[in-house]
């Protein structure tokens, strides 16, 4: 319910509604401007602004400190603890077992556990596929690069989805890929991008920030992932595979409010049919004949007649 609607309610109801705002604590392993965290952080802040939740958070929490931060929020009365358990799977699950009354939602490579440990994966692969369909028609060299952090499943399936999109419209396409072994080393990501441009790539899929800097320097095109990079790199980043986290939050908060167990996989809420990811692009920078096919595919995804394959093998 929007803020305006809330204000229209009688005072006693407003108060009642304010009390239902779920107390949410976020434990971010990275600083919150790390692209992935920033999407979640922004969505949680928006949910808080709408009165759906109360949101407090810690950021830059080291793995060794992580379980302590989770416990502190659980003791502090948070109803839902959001976090990322990739580096602390066993410890995070142990904390959840100790606080059965608290709901946990963790970015994880593992499955859900018990009644209160829910997980989610990152899925903006459908948008990446569509971006690939645009890119496939744009390249002059027919070579497409991509720069990733680490080859974890969520990164691999994203880069592979981009490639499948390219291949659908350009079966002859060649692909390059580089992993930089860091989540935030823009100087290195830029070097990886330049290396691929030297190798003939003229469109780069930037899973990591810094990729577009290389593209900008050499005057080639790039695609952003998770967030909208176009304002930062106008004329360079022509499309972005946006990840929207709000549907996931709405889903788990609804479960918490209704008292349903949250020990399930919330990944599906990142899919396009829930509005969990979307392609945004600069139409003037894309060849006009590339757009209809892409739009058709987008409609097919929305209608459920086409499913973007999930291939988590490491791209070479």
């Amino acid at each position: 319910m929007g803020a305006a609607a809330t204000l229209a309610l009688p005072a006693y109801l407003r108060k009642a509604q304010a009390q239902t705002a779920v107390k949410v604590a976020g434990v971010h392993a990275s600083p919150v401007e790390n692209a992935w965290n920033s999407r979640i952080h922004a969505a949680l802040q928006a949910a808080a602004a709408d009165g759906l939740i109360e949101y407090e958070f810690s950021e830059g929490v080291a793995a060794t400190d992580y379980p302590r931060a989770m416990r502190e929020y659980a003791e502090g009365g948070a109803k839902l603890i959001w976090g990322e358990s990739y580096a602390v799977e066993a410890e995070a699950r142990a904390v959840a077992a100790d606080y059965p009354e608290t709901a946990f939602l963790m970015g994880s490579s593992g499955g859900p556990e018990g009644d209160n440990f829910g997980v989610f994966g990152t899925r903006n692969h459908e948008a990446a596929y569509l971006a690939g369909m645009l890119a496939g028609k744009m390249s002059k060299t027919g070579t497409f690069g991509s720069v990733g952090g680490y080859p974890i499943p969520e990164v691999n399936l994203l880069i592979n989805a981009f490639r499948m999109g390219v291949k659908e419209v350009n079966p002859e396409a060649k692909f390059l890929n580089g992993f930089i072994g860091a989540w935030f080393d823009p100087a290195k990501a830029k070097e990886a991008a330049l290396a691929q441009i030297d190798g003939g790539a003229d469109i780069l899929f930037g899973e990591r920030i810094g990729t577009a800097d290389g593209a900008q320097e050499r005057g080639v095109k790039a695609i952003g992932s998770l967030i909208d990079y176009t304002p930062r790199y106008p004329g360079t980043v022509f499309a972005n595979a946006i990840w929207n986290y709000r549907p996931t939050i709405d889903a788990i908060v609804a479960d918490v409010v209704a008292g349903r167990p949250v020990g399930r996989d919330y990944t599906e809420y990142s899919f396009m049919k829930y509005g969990g990811n979307e392609l945004i692009y600069v139409a003037e920078e894309v060849p006009a004949d590339a757009i209809p096919a892409m739009e058709e595919k987008k409609a097919a995804i929305a209608a459920g007649t086409f499913e973007v394959p999930i291939d988590a093998t490491e791209p070479a």
Binding site: E33, A35, R39, A182, F184, P186, D213, I227, A316
Partner: protein, 313 residues
């Protein structure tokens, strides 16, 4: 194999080598000056982070890029002063103090950045240094493209190598500094104050380290991020050993490391069927191998990590 050779023959590879090496050159020169005076400075990783932050912030607040560099040096020197106070007059463990400085400086950078900068979806940007073609020299085929179209701080780094080498080997002050790292008693006997020399060496060295960090946010990239130094400081500490505490060799070490790095980023894109981790490892593994080969003959400053206490034998 021919692929590898082809890559080595491209000017853009060598251009990347200098660019990747620049922060390392600043850092390794800084660490080298500290250690030649007898003080190990493990504060480097944090000092680089703080330098990256304040250098960037100065420009973000409207300062000139060179002013940003100057502020970074100044703040680095302040951190160096703290490290020197703990390790020189107080004679505390250089390891513990250094790691403490790293924790303090990187946390301070993070904290002040949050305090002073509004961050949205993406960290805010500045207009960074642009490549500067040196008139005349940049039109030399290959070499000009590789060496003389760099960003200005890279030229500064290269000139600093010469200056530091000249200072250490050709000036009385440099001699006094080296002697403080070898035999502070002899320095005292000459009527010089070993403590004062060490304090200044650590401050100047730390200033250079901060400059290396500032390069990352004002030249290599245009934003600050709290974890962006990514171990470059630790690499510098290893490079000092590789360089056998000599500025010229330090330059070679930094260039070698950068070469491995630039090379592997390119090999990753063309060689298939090899796990990418092997490529990422390459610069580190090769550095260790080089370290093993060189370190046997390295001449460690005799009084490195030994606090000097007046009148003590």
């Amino acid at each position: 194999m021919t692929v590898a050779l082809d890559i080595l023959m491209t000017a853009s590879l060598w251009e990347a080598v200098l660019r990747i090496a620049t922060p390392l050159i600043f850092g390794v020169l800084g660490a080298l000056i500290c250690e030649r005076a007898g003080v190990l400075n493990l504060g480097i990783e944090g000092i680089m982070t703080l330098g990256a932050m304040v250098g960037w912030l100065t420009v973000y607040w409207g300062g000139d890029l060179w002013l940003g560099m100057a502020v970074a040096v100044l703040v680095g020197m302040m951190m160096g002063w703290l490290h020197a106070m703990l390790t020189v007059p107080l004679g505390l463990s250089q390891h513990v103090s250094g790691l403490g400085i790293t924790l303090l400086a990187s946390a301070l950078a993070y904290y002040l950045y949050r305090l002073w900068v509004e961050v949205g979806d993406l960290p805010p940007t500045i207009v960074p240094f642009q490549p500067l073609a040196v008139p005349g020299l940049s039109s030399i085929p290959f070499l000009g493209e590789a060496v003389f179209t760099q960003m200005p701080p890279t030229y500064v780094a290269l000139i600093l190598v010469v200056l530091v080498a000249w200072f250490l080997n050709r000036t009385p002050a440099g001699l006094a500094l080296r002697m403080t790292g070898e035999n502070p008693h002899a320095v005292e006997a000459q009527g010089l104050n070993p403590h004062r020399i060490r304090i200044w060496a650590v401050m100047v060295g730390s200033g250079l380290m901060a400059l290396g960090g500032a390069f990352l946010t004002t030249a290599a990239f245009n934003s600050f991020f709290p974890t962006m130094v990514q171990g470059r400081g630790w690499i510098c500490i290893a490079l000092v050993v590789f360089a056998s505490w000599r500025p010229g060799k330090a330059l070679i070490g930094a260039l070698l490391f950068a070469l491995f790095d630039a090379f592997q980023l390119r090999l990753q894109t063309v060689v298939e069927g090899v796990p990418y981790q092997l490529f990422l490892m390459a610069p580190y593994v090769l550095s260790i191998v080089a370290l093993v080969l060189v370190a046997r003959r390295a001449r460690v400053p005799e009084a490195l990590m030994q606090p000097y206490r007046r009148g003590e034998r």
